[in-house]
């Protein structure tokens, strides 16, 4: 399956999309760029810690709502399109903490409407989230807990270093929310640095953290996480992130997103010199 087919077939306008990775690490940027090219609309994004991918999708007007516990450009600064969109009221925010996302996905996995959480009591979260409620333990202790709702993803989009043709995926390094997203989403689209044989997956540490039965489509896309990192292949492209922040988004989109092919994108983004810089 090609990148174009994967997005055209599996992502619909209005979907709740889970994005794997964290911050500047192992984000499925190739898939996000394709979502922008296909001009998908009205998506709700759910990601643990969002960065440039959330900012790009917001800048391209693909998003109507965001569920994330942090969206920023890390030590490089704030995410400009994210800020602008919320400050102008053009997208909705579902205020999340780490645990409301982690447990929301866990609730979906368990097929229960909510999970009890002992954090966030005393914060202003319940004031801005009318789907969160403080309740007393229904089993009779007097403990107060917060009921946080399940998060049922329509599609999970993930990038991994290794996958086989059946969709068994191995992640070197941190897994983050990727496995819970893959397990609970109705569809899971994966891009991978390398296609390997199933036998190879057996010998990689952790084997298939994402097993084939949870993967809907696999697309080979080397450097598919650029400008974010993909351990143990390459780190994030700091110069590209700086360039992103110094450019008008329309200009960025024209130059880097509407390029014709992935190869052409990598060329414009610095080519072999850039690749040698980011390779670990």
């Amino acid at each position: 399956m090609t990148l174009e087919e994967a997005i055209a077939e599996h992502v619909q306008n209005g979907d709740l999309i889970g994005i794997g990775g964290l911050s500047f690490w192992r984000k499925p940027i190739g898939l996000c760029r394709e979502i922008i090219r296909q001009n998908k609309k009205d998506l709700t994004l759910c990601t643990f810690v969002g960065g440039i991918e959330v900012d790009m999708l917001i800048g391209a007007n693909c998003i109507s709502e965001i569920k994330a516990c942090f969206v920023g450009m890390e030590i490089f600064g704030m995410a400009p399109n994210y800020r602008k969109a919320i400050e102008s009221g053009s997208i909705k925010v579902s205020e999340e903490s780490e645990a409301t996302i982690a447990l929301g996905l866990r609730a979906s996995y368990l097929k229960v409407p909510f999970m009890p959480l002992k954090g966030i009591i005393g914060t202003d979260f319940p004031k801005v989230r009318n789907d969160i409620k403080q309740i007393v333990d229904p089993l009779g202790s007097d403990v107060q807990v917060m009921a946080v709702p399940k998060i049922d993803l329509d599609v999970a989009i993930l990038h991994v270093p290794y996958a086989d043709e059946y969709g068994n995926c191995n992640i070197s390094g941190a897994v983050w929310m990727d496995d819970d997203m893959a397990k609970t989403a109705k569809k899971t689209i994966v891009t991978t640095e390398r296609i390997v044989e199933t036998e190879d997956i057996r010998y990689l540490p952790g084997k298939a953290q994402l097993p084939q039965q949870t993967t809907t489509a696999v697309v080979k896309l080397p450097f598919g996480a650029h400008p974010t990192s993909c351990y143990d292949k390459y780190t994030f492209d700091a110069s590209h992130i700086q360039a992103y922040l110094n450019m008008n988004f329309e200009e960025y989109k024209k130059k880097f997103i509407h390029s014709k092919s992935h190869a052409e994108y990598l060329d414009i983004a610095g080519g072999s010199r850039m690749i040698l810089d980011i390779l670990l």
Binding site: W25, Y82, A99, L103, G119, V128, Y231
Partner: protein
């Protein structure tokens, strides 16, 4: 007799003070984009807390070995783990247990006299003047820690230190209305700033001056705080860093000065960022250097 350093910068003083809070049996939680905290924990690890364990939120991993602070190759540090988690486990395992004592530093955009914090927005939540990146796990964990939570900011001013009514959103719990949180933690323990070491009064739970940094006077600290700060009788001066602490920090723990990115602003910050990126790209071995524990 340990020799006191004469020449140090604010970021170095703050990093050393944060390092001194770490105990040898702590699990040290390193969050996202907080190089000063990472440098502090690593300094603690190579000085007085050799057995402390890193818990990298960005890697969802537990790591024993201390390595040099890095910007580009942070994943290399976190991936050298003895335990991997997914984010759900990471979130749940960060919650205090009877087995672990946890230390985490939060950097609030706003803080009130009770140590309640805001990292969500400036202005009304529905129509914010500034949307901040978010609080990540602060909402989950601030009320929980049995060792308490720890706060820091290099911007001690009346924009950061505000009375409760000017705190636009409570996204981290301190001592709400002067009481410990319902979640069982003992509440915020200290606030380390560029001007002073602040802590909390045992009775009223309001913020008070612990010590003031060398060269700073009490009036400056009070005037830089947007609520009435408790000033105890006979406030002492903060014990400055030692020559050894400063040398370790500059030469071993964070020779590229990545921690300074948390303190600097504008052009100065951009220049340092460029410099760090260029130096790290030039490294042949991209594993940040292992540090020995003394």
């Amino acid at each position: 007799m340990t020799e006191i350093a004469r020449d140090y910068t604010t970021d170095e003083l703050m990093t050393v003070l944060m390092a001194r809070e770490v105990k040898n049996d702590d699990v040290m939680i390193v969050g996202v984009a907080t190089p000063m905290v990472w440098a502090a924990f690593t300094l603690a690890k190579v000085t007085h807390a050799p057995d402390a364990i890193y818990h990298y939120i960005m890697g969802n991993t537990f790591v024993i070995e201390p390595r040099q602070v890095s910007l580009l190759y942070l994943e290399m540090n976190t991936a050298r783990a003895y335990r991997f988690q997914n984010s759900c486990e990471c979130t749940l395992e960060s919650l205090p247990s009877d087995k672990l004592t946890t230390i985490e530093f939060f950097r609030p955009a706003q803080v009130d006299q009770y140590g309640n914090t805001n990292n969500i927005c400036i202005g009304d939540w529905k129509n914010p003047k500034i949307r901040l990146p978010g609080c990540a796990g602060i909402a989950d964990f601030s009320g929980f820690y049995s060792r308490g939570s720890f706060l820091y900011t290099p911007r001690h001013d009346t924009r950061t230190f505000v009375p409760t009514e000017k705190l636009f959103f409570i996204s981290g719990v301190g001592f709400p209305e002067g009481k410990p949180s319902m979640c069982g933690g003992i509440g915020p323990q200290c606030m380390i700033t560029n001007l002073a070491y602040l802590n909390f009064d045992d009775k009223t739970r309001k913020m008070k001056i612990g010590t003031i940094h060398p060269g700073v006077d009490i009036e400056t600290v009070k005037n830089s705080t947007g609520f009435e700060l408790i000033v105890p009788e006979g406030v002492n001066e903060t014990t400055p860093p030692t020559v050894e602490e400063i040398a370790l920090l500059r030469e071993k723990v964070d020779p590229l000065g990545i921690r300074k990115l948390e303190v600097l602003a504008g052009k100065e910050r951009e220049d340092l960022l460029d410099q760090i990126i260029q130096k790290e790209l030039a490294m042949v071995n991209r594993f940040p250097k292992s540090l020995s524990i003394s």
